[in-house]
Structures are given as C-alpha cells and as structure tokens.
Amino acid sequence: MRLRPPDVHCREAVELVTDYLEGSLTRRTRRAFEKHLRACDGCDAYLAQMRVIIDTTGSVGPEDLDAATLDGITELYRQFRTEDE
C-alpha cells in the first residue's frame, strides 16, 4: 500500500526548508513538503526568501582587509619565498 504524504502545517514546513534544499529529506517528507508548498503561498514565499538569502550571502564577497594586515601577510610571503630559494 502506498502511504499518503502526511499533512504538514506552515509552522513545521519552515523548519524543513534547509533539509529540503540540501536534498536530505526522506522521500515521504519531501512529498508532503512539496504538496504543502503547492497549496500555500506563504510557505512558497518563505522558500523563495531563503533562496534569495542563500544567493545573496554567496555574493557578499570578501570583507575589506585593512592595509596593515595585508602588508604583514605579504611580508611573510616575501620572507618565506626567499627562504625557499
């Protein structure tokens, strides 16, 4: 017998988003989650928001490095490269 996916409420659905995006939900829970998404604009928007967050976090780029720190590390590079030769 094929089990029907269980009903998921919004409060539970929002906690499944990361596991869903990571592909780590069981097939049964994934089906239940997707069924809920099709019927729920709020959770669909929540998932879309999370995708925007992940995408934007990936594009924030490196934080500015202060010149003194960079100079110090570059000095290490010169020192140890020279030792190698």
């Binding site: 409420h9 919004c10 409060r11 539970e12 929002v14 906690e15 988003v17 990361t18 596991d19 990571e22 780590s24 729920c40 604009d41 709020g42 959770c43 928007a45 929540y46 879309a48 928001q49 999370m50 995708r51 925007v52 967050i53 992940i54 995408d55 934007t56 976090t57 990936g58 594009s59 924030v60 780029g61 490196p62 934080e63 500015d64 490095l65 720190t69 960079l70 110090g72 590390i73 570059t74 290490l76 590079y77 010169r78 140890f80 490269r81 190698d84």
Partner: protein, 221 residues
C-alpha cells in the same frame, strides 16, 4: 532563480579596491605555483576575513584568531607545492586553518562548544495561528529588493546578521554560503556530522532571513 531576480553584491563595494578582476581559486593556484605575489595577495583578500572568523570558534581572542590565520598563510606558502588538488583550494586552506586553530585552542585549554541542542522554532511563534498556519505570511523579497531596498543595503544587513550569530553558526554559514564549500566539506573542516551542519546552517540562515525581512518591512513601512 531568473537572472532578473538575482541579487548580486555591488562589485565596487564588495571587493577591496585595487584587486584584480575575479578569477577562480584554481587559476590563482596556478599563478601561485609560479611564484606570483599578486595571486597570493588576492587569495588573502578573498579568504582572510573568513579564516579569522572561523579560527575565533576555537581560540579565546581576536588576536589569537589573527595569529592562527597568519600561521595558516605561512603553511600555505610553504606547502602549496604539495597541494594535490584532491579538494578545492578553499577546503584545503580551511582544513589547515582549523587544524591549527584546534591546536592553539587546546593550548588555551578551550573546548569548542558546537551546541546543536538549541531546538526552538526558527520563525517567531506569533507569525502562526494556533493551528500552525501563517497569520502573518512572508512576502517575496523580490518584490522589495531592487525596489525599496538597495542591494548594497541587503549585503550590509547580511554581513551584520552573520557577525551577530553565535560562533558555530558564523563558522558554518561562512564556510557553506559565503565560501561555497559543500555540506560534506564543511562537516570535514569543522569536525561535525553533516546532520549537525544542516541543523546549524538552518538556524543561521533563518536568522539572516529574519534580519533582512525586518529591514525590508522597515523600508516598506
């Protein structure tokens, strides 16, 4: 996500001035092996802040974290010839970093608390009805960002939100979402199970989302 809705950082504000155009770590590696100092400094600009952030998980002070990151760079300079390319350059770098940070941390007699027992809801309970359905549903960010909110503002909110996370959350979201390591690589670098990485990642992303939402609601109101 359609390209029109993609939110990207403004290259003028997101990158330190004077750096070369973005190239991938693998091209940098090639230049580095050829003894190109510029390639080295580009790599430092790209990863140093994340390295300090992650080292901070293991050691007791910002100064110790800086020391661990600097030691890591020395190890990279000395060891890059031996890098075998079995992992990405970033993963290799962060693995050296966490090994050194663990050693430094144990000398300070610090134990690393990666607490994943925290298990409350990640969305405020007041957003839901008693039946567990939304009574205050989110609206898509794409309706707000690019309209009322500048991308640069969103990037600034995200940076602040990350800096305010508990340290394990900072480390996980930095490696997974900022540095782009896979969940398996993050687990390996931080010595966590993949399941725990996902739990911490979920909580970190949820807090970042809430911070951006709060800002977007402020801008809308």
């Amino acid at each position: 996500m359609p390209a029109a809705h993609r939110v990207t950082a403004d290259p003028e504000t997101a990158r330190p001035t004077g750096t070369v155009r973005p190239v991938d770590d693998e091209s940098l590696l090639e230049a580095l092996l050829g003894g190109d100092e510029k390639a080295f400094t580009e790599l430092v600009c790209r990863h140093h802040a994340s390295m300090v952030r992650i080292a901070r998980l293991y050691v007791g002070s910002q100064a110790s974290a800086e020391d661990v990151a600097q030691d890591t760079w020395v190890a990279v300079i000395k060891g890059v010839d031996k890098f075998e390319g079995r992992s990405s350059l970033a993963t290799w770098l962060f693995r050296i970093l966490t090994n050194r940070a663990r050693t430094a941390g144990s000398k300070e007699h610090r134990s690393v608390p990666v607490d994943v027992s925290e298990s409350g809801p990640t969305v405020e309970a007041t957003r839901f009805s008693n039946g567990g359905m939304w009574n205050d549903p989110p609206i898509p960010f794409t309706d707000v960002i690019d309209g009322r909110l500048e991308n640069a503002t969103v990037v600034a909110v995200i940076r602040t939100a990350i800096a305010e996370l508990p340290q394990p959350h900072q480390a996980v979201v930095t490696l997974r979402d900022v540095e782009g390591l896979s969940t398996m690589e993050v687990a390996d670098v931080l010595g966590m199970t993949q399941g725990n990485v996902r739990v911490v990642l979920h909580r970190a992303r949820a807090r970042i989302r809430a911070a951006v939402e709060a800002t977007s609601r402020g801008a809308a109101g």
